[in-house]
Symmetry: C2
Subunit: 610 residues, 2 copies
């Protein structure tokens, strides 16, 4: 017998569940603390996806309990529920799901995550997963106890039943497993859920920790994020092999119809154009195209201008939320954000959003912190393996007034970065979804976004250094001038002059002075404004008064605040220009200090700046 | 209709080939340069594994050709071949192979790699893989053209035939694909194969590059590495869920037999002990055990001392090869190596071998370089994601006389590290097999091995600084003494003394002096040796002579080298001890300088040191 015949006896198919049983580290089960986090993450991601698809504001309950040598994890949601016949495969078959075959931004894409958690639980505790689900108020809750038959990658149902449940709809999963519960700022269930809450402010998440401590991440908005719609693949990202497969297995009878129905952004006119350019009849059977013809067809995709893929398959976080997210976690002096337009890698639309926070209580010496997100999911492991990190290391931070170690690398200093990649298909480096692969398109877009916030930071820092010089100058002037004024009035025997105007003139500031004239039963108020600077100054001037003013000189708006009135004027003054505001108020009216909004405090003399 | 019922329509099974079609970056196909490297890697790994299993010294031929827009990759070996009926599934079905279900060190473990290359080729060029294989001299070569039906993850045979082939046995695969061919030191086909050759010196590898350049990595030894034998799982690494599954599906009828046959390191006595301690009859049917009983059985595995797993499932590189490997790639002043004993993670035996190179032409300022290997395969991507890197970053290099950035990190300075992990199951972070997951056991063992070479480096460096002080001292003495000697001989009117002995005495060196006495037709040679140091000095003394010596005073060995004879003596001298060697040679014999081997040049006076 030949050696090869001996060796052939060992050849065998491997079930995907067996594969992951042996390689569970690929799924994010490489350590005891991480096992618990991964289980919670997979269940919560599923809950949020299901709620979003059904248009429900999510309310997710997470509990972790110590049970003997093991931990029990419970995750319950108010989502649409899962129909009884699908439950076993959704939870106990790997590579089964609803989101894989669809081009749309979603957290889960692979159809692996929750089954991986079930597998890990059964391997370590020997206990089945307990699933309860209810799809409508008039339906019973369905209960299952499930394990995965790893040799076959098929669910085994250990128990099946019905019960009452007070919820109208929802899903609950209970898993018992080996692990270690850790409480820390980032790599923990708490840290994970906190960051989930930041980028999913429409969700309410409750966490009950093993010691009984309850953390409630309350909903911050009643508005669900923009819904992501499913799209067809874009012709620009199609590869020859894929096109050949699509041609071969399509049910369409004619090439023209095939093109329109299979791809996004191809309408009847583009179809005609493509067929003509490729010299292929629109009536041809797609299955009849040769390798050469398919190649020709593909090259026309690249020649003609097909419009960009529709962007409604993506649901970005938005600049506002990124800013809020950063400010929620850190005390900062400055925040900049940037959103890149939608771009495409291998046919998948994606976009990059970034935020940069600076100063405040951030560590002045250490390496910059990065918060990474993909499709609204925080990435908390494998920072060093991620395209986001690599892009941030490529940026020449020294050009943006940041220190950077020799070669390249993350900037050092009081900087925190937040980067979100949204795509119909996040190219993770592994099934554990920790890190994004180094695709050139993603690295480039992320670099561009980071450079944009870098430029904003540089402007801020250079402005800061100008302002701090101004502050020093003004302090010196304010000390010196009164002494000179005192001396002068002494020598000349005159009254001491008001020096604030002089200071404003020297500093090139906006000068503000309020004058009162007590009349019979009322007070006439005048506010003089003079712009001594060399640029146009636009701002709002607020007066907070205990009574409503009348005979107001310029157009104003006034809003009651508590017992007071906030009156404000929008004003724009050219260099050297002055303006007077006047109004009357009844005698006895109380005044707060005049307030200027929209300018730096360093350039205003005679008023409070907010 | 409830929302869940709408959503249920989209639920669908995903074939593993579809999954990887969409997530090819997980398989190492994330960029055009890498695609070619990954294809070569998968094919070469398979060739080496097959040759090793069949006990054949591998001869692997790799050619890369430019064909229009695509590259053609050919990999051919002299391995055992593959039987005709297995070829389609081996090359065109993912999760199919002979090594997954076996506990033994091998390069391929997953049954994914080569099918992934076939998939990538068909996706990008639309062309099938061409496979030729022959299993014996009297058998025909079998030819296949194969693609993967991704929807089903099954091979589709486009062509099947027989042909002649001059090889007695072997396998050849041809793939056509999109990519970029890069030539560089590390991340390239050349760099990969060079490192493969370093740790597989029993293989001959030929590379023909697209420009026609031929690189031959010649075999450096005719000895195959130690063969790795398959073992059974070790009880210590077994988890409850796994034990329950094994009990449930075993064909054994009795618990005692089940234990002995299923696990390694469990003999009849241990079986009795386990059954007694767990209070379970050895005659019980394994299938009949309850969850509680299985738990009890498992806890006895941890209570009793089961002997360590057999180590013949592993095939380390060895300290010699690690040293050679480092010296082949770098000019170094110093190399240290360390091998850890076999350890276990989750039932998988593994061991760590490391090498550290220092000085020479390494960059004195940059970060240390790391060469990573897993089961004799070089890891060239994702360094930042790898447990090896993380372990190296954890080592407090400052304790070992190396610079290290604040916090922790790789040392900076002229340091190169080489780390090899051998295991029956390398826990990679993903199917692309770039990086090893952060398992605590692997990190700990790697750290221990690195600390060991770190200690050796520290000793070397501190010795170096002592030696450099000695050198300076000796240079001063050598300059001063002749002047003093000159002056003395002038004053005393005597001959100038030989000062080398004086230098040796002051420096505490080994003093070597060869004296000749020309006799009638022969020369009598005497070599005086004196150890003036404070420690025992053991060394070899070599004389290279053009004729064979006779009347040799001490036991010697002499070997002809070309036309000369290398005679050497093994000598050990206590502090203050002296020794004389004498021999005779015919007149006209040519002498080379006396050579000392095994001591630093700084402690020897009067001879050359190698």
């Amino acid at each position: 017998m030949e050696i090869a015949e001996e060796l052939a006896k060992q050849q065998k198919a491997i079930s995907v569940a067996e594969f992951f049983e042996k390689n569970r580290q690929i799924l994010g089960f490489d350590s005891a603390p991480r096992a618990i986090i991964t289980c919670v993450k997979e269940a919560v991601d599923n809950s949020l996806d299901a709620c979003e698809e059904a248009g429900i504001l999510p309310d997710v309950f997470v509990q972790i309990k110590r049970i003997g040598d093991y931990y029990k994890i419970i995750v319950e949601d108010n989502g649409p529920g899962i129909v009884a016949e699908e439950i076993p495969r959704v939870f106990a078959k790997m590579l089964y799901g609803s989101r894989f075959h669809t081009l749309r931004q979603s957290r889960g894409q692979q159809g692996i995550g929750i089954s991986a958690a079930v597998l890990y639980a059964q391997l370590t505790s020997g206990k089945p997963a307990r699933v309860t689900s209810k799809i409508g108020p008039d339906r019973p809750a369905i209960n299952y106890e499930l394990i995965i038959n790893t040799a076959k990658n098929e669910p085994e149902i250990l128990h099946e039943g019905e019960s009452d449940w007070e919820r109208p709809r929802g899903t609950r999963i209970e898993l018992e497993l080996e692990g270690t519960y850790v409480r820390s700022r980032r790599q923990s269930v708490f840290g994970y859920l906190k960051n989930v809450a930041v980028v999913n402010p429409h969700a309410r998440i409750t966490l009950v920790e093993p010691d009984g401590n309850i953390e409630l991440f309350e909903r911050a908005t009643e508005t669900a994020p923009r819904k992501a719609y499913a799209i067809q693949p874009h012709p620009a990202g199609t590869e020859l092999g894929e096109l050949i497969r699509l041609l071969r297995y399509t049910e369409r009878k004619r090439l023209g119809v095939f093109l329109r129905e299979t791809f996004s952004s191809i309408g009847p006119i583009t179809t005609q154009e493509i067929c003509k350019l490729a010299n292929l009849g629109a009536e041809r059977a797609p299955q009849s195209l040769t390798h050469e013809e398919a190649k020709r067809l593909l090259s026309t995709f690249k020649q003609i201008k097909v419009k960009s893929p529709p962007v409604d398959c993506l649901s970005p976080i938005g600049e506002g939320l990124i800013k809020t997210g950063l400010e929620k976690e850190f005390k900062l002096d400055f925040v900049a954000t940037a959103i890149r337009p939608v771009s495409v890698f291998a046919g998948n639309p994606f976009l990059v959003e970034v935020g940069l926070g600076y100063g405040g209580e951030l560590d002045k010496e250490g390496r910059a912190d990065i918060l990474r997100f993909a499709n609204r999911v925080p990435l908390i492991y494998q920072q060093g393996a991620c395209a986001i990190t690599h892009a941030a290391e490529n940026v020449p931070w020294k050009n943006y007034s940041c220190a950077q170690p020799p070669g390249n690398g993350l900037p050092t200093g009081p900087v925190v970065l937040m980067v979100h990649i949204a795509s119909t298909n996040i190219p993770f480096t592994s099934e554990s979804k920790d890190a994004i692969a180094d695709l050139p398109e993603i690295i480039t877009e992320t670099e561009l976004a980071l450079k944009e916030v870098g430029r904003k930071l540089r402007r801020y820092l250079s402005r800061q250094s100008v302002l701090s010089e101004r502050r020093e100058k003004e302090e010196i002037i304010k000390k010196l001038l009164p002494r000179i004024a005192d001396k002068l009035s002494e020598i000349l025997g005159e009254d001491k002059p008001d020096i604030t105007l002089v200071v404003a003139k020297i500093m090139g500031n906006l000068f503000v002075k309020r004058l009162y004239d007590q009349k019979d039963g009322f007070v006439s108020v005048k506010i003089n404004l003079e712009n001594h600077g060399e640029i146009i100054r636009s701002f709002k001037l607020h007066e907070v008064l205990s009574q409503e003013p009348y005979s107001v000189s310029l157009e104003t708006k006034s809003m009651p605040i508590g017992d007071n009135y906030d009156c404000f004027w929008k004003i724009s003054l050219k260099p050297g220009e002055g303006q007077q505001i006047s109004y009357d108020v009844p005698s006895g009216t109380k005044f707060s200090e005049t307030v200027i909004e929209g300018l730096e405090s360093e350039v205003v003399t005679g008023a409070r700046v907010i």
